[in-house]
């Protein structure tokens, strides 16, 4: 099967963002479910990584790894909040 546990998304996400963003919180544009990227349902990594909402299965994000680049979309995220370590 290509369905992997949530933290398997850490590798492609780290490649894309340059650091661990599994604790970044996203809001599903379809159903409004709010939660960390590390708790989404992931398919892949081939032919691409697909992060789906754990509630409604909406496609939140895709990451395709070409030899020379990453191609990413966030079609189903209404918001992504990435902690920076600073204080508000």
């Amino acid at each position: 099967m290509t369905e992997l546990d949530a933290n398997s998304a850490a590798g492609p996400l780290t490649l894309l963002f340059g650091r661990d963003v599994t604790l970044a919180v996203g809001i599903c544009a379809m159903c409004g479910t709010t939660g960390p990227l590390g708790e989404t349902v992931m398919y892949g990594p081939a032919p691409g990584t697909v992060l789906r909402c754990p509630q409604c299965s909406n496609v939140l994000m895709t990451i395709v790894e070409a030899p020379d680049r990453l191609l990413a979309t966030m079609p189903g995220l209404r918001l992504l909040s990435v902690p920076t370590g600073g204080t508000s």
């Binding site: 369905e3 081939a46 032919p47 691409g48 496609v59 395709v64 191609l71 979309t73």
Partner: protein, 198 residues
């Protein structure tokens, strides 16, 4: 004279059948962008929707009553594996599209579970594409797209949509799931059209 070994002959044939950047596999890897849907044959339908909204629909029994083809084809996945001589049973899209009145140049194949992929309509005609329901003489398993999938072997295999539900015909090209996510819009393995911009 029998001097050339079968191994040497076999390798040369494989080289000839392998598009650039591909390797031959004897497995049949399962790749998926979402959960596997399970569709009962009683509920299964295949629908063609023209650009004007006209619909033609076939039930499972109606599909089975149509003349069946037995394509034996090489398939090529964009993840670089190729599998030679895969044997399928299904119905040619030439038959299914024969009575569809359309001026469309493009099609979007849509599947149970929400997957889509786009192709020029001409790539579905002239003996190049089928709706298949058997692999290697057995009913197509859900993990490989059963009850039925699209088979378009001259393009990378993501175009051969699993769990096919229908075709929407369009006058403009509308990228599908992987085409929107960074894969090539057309996907010819012999021109190694893998990614957007290739």
């Amino acid at each position: 004279m029998g001097i050339v070994s079968s191994g040497f002959t076999g390798r040369r044939e494989a080289d000839h059948r392998l598009p650039p950047g591909q390797y031959e596999t004897h497995d049949f890897p399962v790749l998926s962008a979402g959960p596997t849907p399970f569709i009962s044959l009683a509920e299964w339908t295949f629908t063609v929707v023209s650009e004007l909204g006209a619909r033609q629909r076939w039930s499972w029994d109606e599909l089975m009553r149509l003349p069946q083809s037995h394509p034996e084809v090489d398939i090529h996945c964009v993840t670089r594996w190729s599998k030679f001589g895969t044997r399928w049973t299904g119905v040619s899209l030439d038959l299914l599209l024969a009575d569809v009145e359309t001026g469309a140049d493009y099609a979007v194949a849509y599947s149970h579970g929400g997957y889509t992929t786009n192709l020029p309509l001409e790539d579905l005609l002239d003996g190049k594409a089928w709706i298949v329901h058997e692999f290697d003489g057995e009913p197509l398993s859900p993990s490989h797209g059963g009850p039925a999938r699209l088979l378009v072997p001259h393009l990378y295999f993501w175009k051969s949509a699993k769990w096919i539900q229908g075709l929407r015909l369009h006058t403009v090209d509308e990228p599908g799931f992987w085409e929107t996510a960074g894969y090539h819009n057309y996907g010819d393995p012999w021109r190694e059209q893998r990614y957007w911009g290739d």
